[in-house]
Amino acid sequence: MSSVLYDAQGPRAKRRNVLYTVVFLLAVVAIGWWMFRTLSDKGQLDWEKWKPFFSGSEAWTTYILPGLWNTLIAAVLSVVIALPLGAVFGIARLSDHAWIRVPAGVIVEFFRAIPVLILMIFGVALFSQYTSVNSDDRPLYAVVTGLVLYNASVLAEIVRAGILALPKGQAEAAQAIGLRKTQTMTSILLPQAVTAMLPAIVSQLVVIVKDTALGGALLTFPDLLAAVGPMSSYYGANTIASFTIVALIFVLLNFALTSFASWLERRLRRSKRSTGAVLAAEDEEINPAAVGGGFGSGASA
């Protein structure tokens, strides 16, 4: 094992590593023991509190699965609406005309600078004051509105970065054979950019799924997180157990999406047919260069 930080280890370094391992293990065991004691003192480890999830399907069919279904509906709706919007704004930001490019840029940067929660709270009031949307549907509308406004602007940046990541020769070749600007965009650049940004889009789905939980906590949207409250009161204050199960479902769902994104990325990088331009799956979250914009990122809730 060698990396930029350290070379292959000799006998002394190996002995030292064993020492570090033992000390770290002791620390972990001590913290684990303290957690175990705290949990069992409060009776949170009693089988009664965990039983609903492992024996019988009532907890799943009554609370968890309907919640998960709502979470997924909100996430899918948001991405389906945000994608075309994002594509339009992303392309508009690349326009040759300043009167298209500048307003699109301002709108995109504006919505990226504002927390999703602020947009969702705005959405709730908007639908209750200015529309006749049924009060049961309002939370879903508000969650989707907030997510669409925010993620459309993030996706716009992804689309823009995807198009900019293509080799310059593509646009030049299109120009050389006499294609118009629109033709170049729709038949040369966009089809290639879509493949290049697929991993980044799938990673953005993780951010969207995580953000739906805001609706559950603050906007009475009956999502997976909102199931914790009624569940823990029905099964005798099994708060820890309920949170653990819900968090576990989120982790599994998002881990599957992340793995899919990096699998896609590796596959696209390997493929011989493409130009080799691929937006990395994780770029949007921490790498500002990848999305081109000066600020804002998708590493939000």
């Binding site: 504002i114 709270i121 906590a217 997180l225 989120f250 600020f295 804002g296």
Partner: protein, 245 residues
């Protein structure tokens, strides 16, 4: 309902529209503690940023270090925590840690306890992203740099402090800026456990006043003021600092 807003209808009748809007904003500033709410947002951001920088650096050190067990731990921590919604983390600190396990972090009043719990949740969550940012910074340093350092006869500490880390720190500024901006926006999630920051005040104001667009504009403006300069200044610093390769 604050006292300043009761007189609103009469005042609205006179004066041009912009004067009217100005008076409404003035009433908001008197009736609601707008600046106080944004101050709480700033406090949450700064405290969580400091905490997550420390914890994230420790995690990153474990993750790139030579000890397999620490590497595994940091890897698992990052992959689990960043796949859990922040809302779940924050709500857990209140419902799970405080209400179920009676962990109050030394606070006596509810406000103090909730504030500290929110910082704890934000630190635990953001550290995963800080760790990733630092790791990606270290990964931008080509292996050849360390190999050249060793070829020159520098020992491990010298290679690390003179060659690798100076280059890594410079590439980390950009990614860390984005984490900081995301953190600023994420502090709104603390509203879920009743911390009196900007998003909670916005919710309250929208419920009490019939000025949806104006209130939203004020809060949007507040967040733009917080995130835009950070992004522009640190983004510029990051671009200047990054090693061109």
């Amino acid at each position: 309902m604050p006292a300043g807003c009761a007189a609103l209808p009469e005042r609205r009748a006179r004066g041009p529209p912009h004067a009217e809007a100005r008076e409404i904003v003035f009433d908001f500033l008197q009736g609601y503690d707008l600046l106080g709410a944004f101050w709480v947002t700033v406090q949450l951001t700064l405290l969580s940023a400091a905490g997550s920088l420390v914890w994230g650096t420790v995690l990153a050190a474990m993750r790139v270090g030579p000890v397999p067990l620490m590497r595994g731990f940091a890897n698992a921590y990052v992959n689990i925590v960043r796949n859990i919604p922040l809302t779940v983390v924050i709500l857990f600190t209140s419902l799970g840690l405080f209400q179920t396990l009676s962990i109050n972090l030394g606070g006596q009043r509810f406000e103090t306890i909730n504030f500290r719990l929110a910082v704890l949740g934000l630190v635990a969550y953001t550290a995963a992203f800080v760790c990733e940012a630092i790791r990606s910074g270290i990964n931008t340093v080509p292996v050849g740099q360390a190999e050249a350092a060793r070829a020159l006869g520098l020992n491990f500490t010298q290679a690390l402090t003179l060659v690798v880390l100076p280059q890594a720190f410079r590439s980390v500024v950009g990614p860390l800026t984005n984490v900081l901006i995301a953190l600023t926006k994420n502090t709104t999630v603390a509203a879920a456990i009743g911390v009196a920051e900007a998003a909670l005040l916005m919710k309250e104001m929208i419920e009490n006043e019939a000025q949806l667009l104006l209130i939203s504009a004020i809060f949007a403006f507040g967040f733009v003021c917080l995130t835009l300069p950070t992004g522009l200044i640190l983004g510029w610093v990051g671009k200047k600092a990054a090693v061109k390769r």
